[in-house]
C-alpha cells in the first residue's frame, strides 16, 4: 500500500494543521503510520471547519427539537414542517476566509455551496439572503472587498436563478482583515420527497455526478481553520472557482434523478470534497464505502489520489443508487449533459477504502474520520479588558448641539443607510414568489398552491456580543424574531452562522460559549428551535480578532399571505404607536460608534418574556388587520426607526412625533434597546387596537401621526428635530452609495 507518495512524518502532519496529539491518535487508530492520502483525509476531516472540534461541546446546548422539526442538525440542512405536506429546508453558511483572499469567487462559491446543501435534501432553493461585514468604509481595500463580494453573489445567484430577498451589510474596523460573508438559503420540499446523506445498502453503487475535478480549493477546509498572517494573498489557489450554469444543470438533474426513486442517498461535495462525502455518508448509515479514483472525471492530468480526494472543485455531488437502477440515473444526467460515473460501492464493514488503478492508497474506519474526530474542551476565560469596556459611560461624552445634523449623519452612516446599491444587483423575483422585496424588515415569499407565505431574515450585532456575549447573542435571536413578527410571521426555526476569532484563545472561546448560552436562552424562551448552522472560527489577522458575530438566520410562517406587512408608513393620518418598554442604552450603539468613535458601555436589559408578549401583541394586531405598517427599532434607535418608516417605502411621508423626555436627548433619540416596535394604525382601527394592546398587557403608547412633508420630533414638549422629510431621505439613500463611486 504505497506508491510514490511522500513518507508521512510528524512534521508533515503538523504542516497539515494536525497537532502532535492528533497525529498520535491517528497512529493509534490505524495501528500504523498513515499513508500520505490518509494524512490528507484526516487533516481535512479533522480540521475545525469539518469536525467542529472546539465547538461541539457548546453546540450541544442549543435547543434543536420541536414538534414541527423534521430534521435537526446533523444532515446537510435543517427541515421544518409548514403544513399541507410541505416542508422548508434551511441552512446558512460562511465563506469568510475565501472572500478575503478572492472576494468575487469566494463569495460566489459561498452561494454555490449553500445552494447545494439545500438541494441535496431534495428541495428546490427558493430564496437566499446574505449577511456581510466589512471594515472601515474609508479604506479602499474595504471598497474592493465589498464590490467583489456583491458582484460574486450577484453573478452566482442570478445565473443559477434564485432570488435574493434580504440580508444586511454592516461595517466596523474590527472586520478590516476578516470580512464576513454569510449566505442563507431556503428551499421547499414535499415531506415524502426528503432525501438524506446516508450511504445505505451494502452493494449499492456510488455515483459521482456533476463537474469534473480539478486542483482548485485543495485544503480549503484547512485554510478556513487557521488565522491569516502576512502573505494571505498567496493562498489564492485554495479559493474554489464556481460555475453557476453547471450548478443549475446539476440542480435540475439531481431533482430529476431523485424523482426516479432510484436514489438512496445524496450529498454535495463541499468542504473537503470527495473525502467528506465518502466518509460522512457511510458513517451516518453505519456502513462503509470503497472508491476507485481512476473513474473520477478529471479536468487536469496527473492528479494524485490525495488531490482527487481533497479537491474542492465545485458543482459535484455523490449519489448512492439502488443497485440495478443505475441506468435510470445515468439517463437523467445525460439529458443535462453532466457526468454521472459509478466510482464505487457501499460496503458493510465500516471502512473507507480508496484505490487508484486498483492500488489501495487509503483504508480508514469511517467513524474515525467523522464521529470519532477529536472533541476538545479547551479553556475559556473572561477577557480582562471587558469590565473596563462595559463600565464606560456613553453619557460622559458631550451631547450634540445640533440634533438635526446628528440624525442626518446617522442615517447616512453606511451601516444604517439604504443598501439599495447592493440588492439592486441581485435578482429578487425569479420564481415569481416574492411578495415583499428586499428593503423591509424581512423578505416574504408566497407558497403557491396554499394561502401561506414564509418570511426570512438575518440579524446579528457584533458590538453587542463583544460587550456582553450572552445577552448580545440573545438580542440577535430576539431581533430576528421581531423582524419576522413585524412582517406578519410567526417565527419557526433558526439557522445560524457563528463567526469568531481563534478558539485556541481562551477569551474567544469564552465569548463563543457565552454566545451559545444566550442563543439557547432566547430560543427556548421564544420557542424557536435551531435546526442547522455553521461555525466559522479563526477570523483573525495577526492577533486581532473580529467582533464576535453570531448571525441568526430565521424563517417564519404566515398562515395567510394577506397578513404580510411592510415597515414603511402608508397613509397620512395614521397614528404612530410604539409598543414595548422605554429602556434603552447608548452602550454599543451605532450613535456611539458614529459620533464617539468608540465601543463601550452597557446594553439595555432584555426581558425575554416581555419580548415574547410584545411580539405576540404585534402579530395579533397584524392578523386583525389593525396596522398599516410595523418596524422594529434597532441600530440608531427610535429616531432612525421613525425615519426609516417614513422614507424607506415608495413614498416619503412626514411625521409628527412627541417622545417622553429621558436623562438626555441623544439617549431618547438614538438609544438602542430590545422589544420595541413602531406600528402605524389607521384612525378607524384605533379603538380596536387600543383594546387589543390592553388585552396583551404590553407597555405601549401613541407617539404621533403620519402626515405632512416634515420629519418633526419633539421630546418633552420641545422641538428637537424639524427637517423636510426629503432631507432625511436623501441622507439615507446616498449614505452607502457615496463610498462606492
Amino acid at each position: 500500500m504505497s506508491g510514490a507518495e511522500p513518507k508521512v512524518t510528524l512534521d508533515l502532519a503538523q504542516a497539515h494543521g494536525l497537532t502532535a496529539e492528533e497525529y498520535d491518535r491517528i497512529i493509534r487508530i490505524l495501528d500504523r503510520e498513515p499513508t500520505f492520502t490518509e494524512l490528507g483525509l484526516f487533516s481535512a476531516l479533522w480540521s475545525e471547519h469539518c469536525a467542529y472540534k472546539h465547538s461541539k461541546v457548546f453546540l450541544r446546548q442549543l435547543p434543536t427539537r420541536a414538534p414541527h422539526v423534521l430534521q435537526g442538525p446533523g444532515e446537510n440542512a435543517g427541515i421544518v414542517d409548514l403544513g399541507d405536506g410541505l416542508a422548508l429546508v434551511l441552512k446558512m453558511e460562511s465563506h469568510n476566509h475565501p472572500s478575503f483572499i478572492e472576494p468575487f469567487q469566494g463569495a460566489a462559491t459561498g452561494v454555490g455551496g449553500i445552494l447545494r446543501d439545500i438541494f441535496t435534501m431534495g428541495a428546490r432553493p427558493i430564496a437566499t439572503l446574505d449577511s456581510l461585514r466589512f471594515g472601515d468604509p474609508e479604506d479602499p481595500k474595504t471598497r474592493y472587498l465589498l464590490g467583489g463580494v456583491v458582484a460574486g453573489i450577484s453573478w452566482y445567484g442570478n445565473c443559477f436563478g434564485v432570488p435574493n430577498v434580504g440580508g444586511e451589510v454592516a461595517f466596523a474596523p474590527e472586520y478590516g482583515g476578516n470580512p464576513l460573508v454569510n449566505v442563507m438559503c431556503v428551499g421547499l420540499v414535499r415531506h415524502d420527497r426528503i432525501f438524506r446523506a446516508r450511504a445505505e445498502g451494502p452493494g449499492n453503487p456510488v455515483f459521482y455526478v456533476g463537474a469534473k475535478t480539478g486542483r482548485d480549493g485543495i485544503h480549503g477546509a484547512t485554510m478556513a481553520s487557521a488565522v491569516f498572517e502576512e502573505g494571505a494573498e498567496e493562498r489564492r489557489p485554495t479559493v474554489q472557482v464556481g460555475d453557476p450554469f453547471t450548478e443549475k444543470l446539476l440542480l435540475e438533474a439531481c431533482l430529476g434523478a431523485l424523482e426516479t426513486g432510484a436514489v438512496v442517498g445524496i450529498q454535495d461535495m463541499g468542504a473537503a470534497g470527495l473525502a467528506c462525502c465518502s466518509s460522512e455518508m457511510p458513517a451516518r448509515a453505519g456502513t462503509g464505502m470503497e472508491v476507485e479514483l481512476s473513474r473520477v472525471p478529471r479536468r487536469e492530468a496527473g492528479m494524485t489520489p490525495y488531490e482527487i480526494m481533497l479537491s474542492e472543485s465545485q458543482e459535484r455531488m455523490l449519489l448512492v443508487v439502488a443497485r440495478g437502477r443505475e441506468a435510470e440515473v445515468r439517463q437523467v444526467f445525460a439529458k443535462w449533459d453532466l457526468d454521472a460515473v459509478e466510482i464505487g460501492r457501499v460496503t458493510a464493514d465500516g471502512m473507507l477504502r480508496v484505490r487508484i488503478e486498483g492500488r489501495l492508497v487509503a483504508e480508514v474506519p469511517v467513524r474515525a474520520l467523522t464521529e470519532d474526530a477529536p472533541v476538545y474542551e479547551k479553556p475559556t476565560a473572561r477577557p480582562g479588558w471587558l469590565d473596563a469596556l462595559v463600565a464606560f459611560d456613553p453619557l460622559s461624552l458631550p451631547a450634540p448641539r445640533d440634533y438635526e445634523r446628528a440624525l442626518l449623519e446617522i442615517l447616512a452612516a453606511p451601516t444604517v443607510a439604504s443598501k439599495h446599491w447592493v440588492y439592486r444587483q441581485y435578482d429578487q423575483q425569479v420564481g415569481i414568489n416574492t411578495l415583499v422585496l428586499p428593503g423591509s424588515d424581512a423578505g416574504v415569499l408566497r407558497i403557491k398552491g396554499t394561502r401561506k407565505a414564509i418570511a426570512l431574515t438575518t440579524d446579528g450585532n457584533g458590538r453587542y456580543v463583544l460587550l456582553d456575549p450572552c445577552q448580545g447573542a440573545a438580542l440577535a435571536v430576539a431581533e430576528a424574531a421581531r423582524n419576522l413578527t413585524c412582517s406578519g410571521a410567526r417565527p419557526l426555526a433558526v439557522t445560524d452562522c457563528l463567526n469568531f476569532g481563534s478558539p485556541e484563545r481562551p477569551e474567544i472561546l469564552w465569548q463563543f460559549g457565552e454566545a451559545i448560552r444566550g442563543i439557547s436562552q432566547a430560543c427556548q424562551a421564544l420557542e424557536i428551535p435551531v435546526v442547522s448552522g455553521n461555525v466559522s472560527f479563526y477570523n483573525e489577522t495577526e492577533g486581532r480578532a473580529i467582533l464576535p458575530t453570531p448571525i441568526i438566520g430565521m424563517a417564519g410562517l404566515l398562515e395567510e399571505a394577506e397578513w404580510r406587512t411592510t415597515q414603511w408608513f402608508k397613509n397620512a393620518g395614521d397614528r404612530i404607536a410604539l409598543i414595548g418598554p422605554e429602556a434603552v442604552s447608548l452602550g454599543g450603539s451605532e450613535y456611539l460608534a458614529t459620533f464617539g468613535r468608540c465601543l463601550g458601555g452597557r446594553l439595555a436589559p432584555l426581558d425575554l418574556r416581555l419580548e415574547r408578549d410584545v411580539q405576540s401583541a404585534c402579530r395579533a394586531a397584524i392578523e386583525a388587520g389593525l396596522v398599516a405598517s410595523a418596524h422594529d427599532s434597532a441600530e440608531g434607535g427610535l429616531a432612525v426607526a421613525l425615519a426609516e418608516a417614513a422614507i424607506s417605502g415608495p413614498e416619503e411621508l412626514g411625521v409628527e412625533v412627541a417622545l417622553l423626555s429621558g436623562s438626555r436627548l441623544d439617549l431618547v433619540l438614538f438609544g438602542e434597546g430590545p422589544s420595541r416596535i413602531l406600528v402605524s394604525v389607521p384612525p378607524a382601527a384605533e379603538r380596536h387596537f387600543e383594546s387589543l394592546m390592553r388585552e396583551w398587557r404590553v407597555p405601549w403608547r401613541f407617539i404621533g401621526t403620519v402626515g405632512g412633508d416634515r420629519f418633526a420630533l419633539r421630546v418633552g414638549g420641545e422641538v428637537v428635530i424639524n427637517v423636510p422629510v426629503e432631507r432625511t431621505a436623501h441622507a439615507w439613500r446616498t449614505g452607502f452609495e457615496r463610498y462606492l463611486v
Binding site: 458582484a151 450554469f245 443549475k248 439592486r424 415569481i432
Partner: protein
C-alpha cells in the same frame, strides 16, 4: 391559444411563464426542450429569461444556434408567433430573427428593478389590446440589456414602426433618467418585419399578478390571446 415555453440548459423563467400562462390565464401550455424541432402544435412560442448556457461567449450566443431556434424560422413563416423576454430577446438577436444586439448595461452592473415602458406600436398581436402611448410597469433583471442597432437599422426600424416599447417615466416621458441600461433611444423591445416575433428585455411574466407586483404584463398576453382567429392566424389592427 397553445403556448410552448422553450427550455435551454440554464433557462430559469420557463417555470414562471408556464405558471402564468397555465394557472393565471388558463391557456394550454407545454415545455419545449431545446433539442425539439417540431413546433407545429403551438400558436405562440416563448423564449423565456435566464442564463442559457451560462451566457458563455455572449448572452444568447449558444442558444441562438440550437435546434429549436433553427426551427423558429419555419414556424414563423407558417404564421406562428414568438415572444422572447430578456435572455429570449438576446437569443432572437443572436439568431438574427431580430435586428440589433443586447450589450452590457451602461452602469456595468446587473440591475433588477421596476421599469415603465411606453407602447409605441399598438397594432401587433402582442399589443393590439393597448393604446399607443400607454405606459406599462414591468420589472427588468439583467446585466446585458443595453440595446444597440446601427443608425441605418434604427432608421429602418422607425420607418417600419418596429420599435414596440421604450423605457419611460411613470407618465410616459422617454428620458435618460428612465433608461435603466443605456439602450439606444431607450428601446426596450422590437418586432420583426411581419410583426410576429417580439423581443423585449422586461419580464411580463413577473407583472401578471397583483400580489407580486402588478398586472401590466398580463395585458400583452390578453392581446395575444384576443388576436387569435379561428383559422389559426392572428389579427393585427
Amino acid at each position: 391559444m397553445k403556448f410552448g415555453v422553450v427550455i435551454f440548459p440554464g433557462t430559469w423563467s420557463d417555470c414562471d411563464f408556464h405558471y402564468v400562462i397555465g394557472e393565471v390565464l388558463h391557456q394550454p401550455v407545454r415545455y419545449v426542450w431545446h433539442r425539439d424541432t417540431d413546433l407545429s402544435e403551438y400558436d405562440c412560442v416563448i423564449l423565456p429569461g435566464g442564463f442559457s448556457y451560462g451566457d458563455y461567449l455572449r448572452a444568447g450566443a449558444v442558444a441562438g444556434r440550437s435546434p429549436v431556434v433553427g426551427a423558429l424560422g419555419d414556424f414563423v413563416a407558417r404564421g406562428g408567433l414568438v415572444l422572447g423576454s430578456c435572455n429570449g430577446f438576446q437569443i432572437l438577436c443572436e439568431a438574427t430573427l431580430l435586428p440589433g444586439a443586447l450589450m452590457r448595461n451602461e452602469c456595468l452592473q446587473y440591475r433588477c428593478q421596476s421599469t415603465h415602458v411606453v407602447v409605441e406600436n399598438a397594432e401587433l398581436p402582442f399589443t393590439r389590446g393597448l393604446r399607443p402611448g400607454q405606459v406599462l410597469k414591468m420589472p427588468i433583471s439583467h446585466g446585458e440589456g443595453k440595446y444597440y442597432a446601427d443608425l441605418e437599422t434604427l432608421r429602418h426600424l422607425k420607418a417600419r414602426n418596429r420599435i414596440v416599447f421604450r423605457y419611460c417615466t411613470e407618465v410616459g416621458e422617454v428620458t435618460k433618467e428612465a433608461n435603466p441600461n443605456g439602450s439606444v433611444e431607450n428601446i426596450a423591445g422590437v418586432v420583426n418585419e411581419e410583426g410576429t416575433v417580439l423581443g423585449l428585455m422586461p419580464h411580463p411574466e413577473r407583472a401578471a399578478e397583483a400580489a407580486v407586483g402588478g398586472t401590466d404584463g398580463l395585458l400583452l398576453f390578453h392581446s395575444l390571446i384576443g388576436s387569435l382567429v379561428e383559422d389559426g392566424s392572428f389579427l393585427k389592427r
